[in-house]
């Protein structure tokens, strides 16, 4: 289940944008109701911006304010600036073993 969403509003001046693939697992997938999102964000958007956008769209209870995040399969700080084609995964507290 892939939802395509744009964080750019219609009718505003053209903005350079990047496309990112967002992956949601376990409890976060349940709460957001999707395992994958294709998102369009303004160029220069950080992970923090993406989190704020998702919390605004889906409700603050859907995702914590500072979840663990992996960008292109490496844990990354929230100020990481997203690039075209990045894969951003929200990682709920892990429970392997």
């Amino acid at each position: 289940m892939v939802a395509k969403v744009s964080a750019l509003s219609e009718g505003q001046a053209p903005v350079e944008k990047v496309h990112v693939r967002v992956l949601l697992f376990a409890a976060y997938r349940d709460r957001l109701g999707a395992s994958e999102l294709d998102l369009e964000l303004p160029v220069g958007s950080s992970v923090t911006f993406l989190i704020a956008y998702l919390r605004e769209q889906r409700g603050a209870e859907a995702l914590p304010g500072s979840p663990a995040v992996a960008v292109n399969q490496e844990y990354a700080p929230l100020n990481t600036v997203l690039e075209e084609g990045d894969e951003v995964a929200f990682i709920p507290p892990v429970a392997g073993g």
Binding site: A68, V69, Q73, E74, I91, P93, V94, A95, G96, G97
Partner: protein, 144 residues
């Protein structure tokens, strides 16, 4: 060095045999097994889920780090995902080393790091029909 995620049942004895070498006097096998209870509730099964590509990469990273950190001959880790019944093996870690100390230390380090860092989750199903995600550990993320 064999570090991976699988959907198949784990043959722990085969894993231990795979790391065995004539230069190593110790072969240590750890298995994690689905337990029939958790926090006072009766558990019937566990469903494991992984961010498979990243989890595999993390397991390999842990294997390499541990092989550098301790004097071991070889190491193998297999973590299973999917639906597991009580008594089934969810994870197996096999370590060979010239001497036992390094094997025990390496095995312990691997399971501790796995539980803190590898993106795997599990959902418990209870005897009363309810189910819930098992509370996990917040992974350490590099500082901004």
């Amino acid at each position: 060095m064999d570090c991976r995620i699988t959907t198949d049942s784990i043959d722990a004895a085969a894993l231990a045999n795979r790391v065995r070498k004539n230069s190593d006097g110790a072969v240590l096998l750890f298995t994690g097994v689905v337990r029939d209870h958790d926090a006072g509730r009766s558990v019937v099964s566990l469903k494991y889920e992984a961010y498979a590509e990243m989890a595999t990469e993390k397991l390999r990273e842990i294997c390499s780090a541990v092989a550098t950190q301790f004097d071991i001959g070889d190491i193998a880790i297999v973590h299973r995902i999917g639906e597991l019944s009580v008594g089934e093996i969810s994870v197996a870690i096999a370590v060979s080393a010239p001497h036992r100390d390094a094997a025990y230390n390496a095995s312990r380090e691997v399971i501790e790091r796995l539980k803190r860092e590898v993106p795997i989750w599990k959902r418990e199903r209870y005897a009363d029909g309810e189910d819930s995600w098992v509370e996990g550990t917040e992974p350490q993320v590099p500082e901004a």
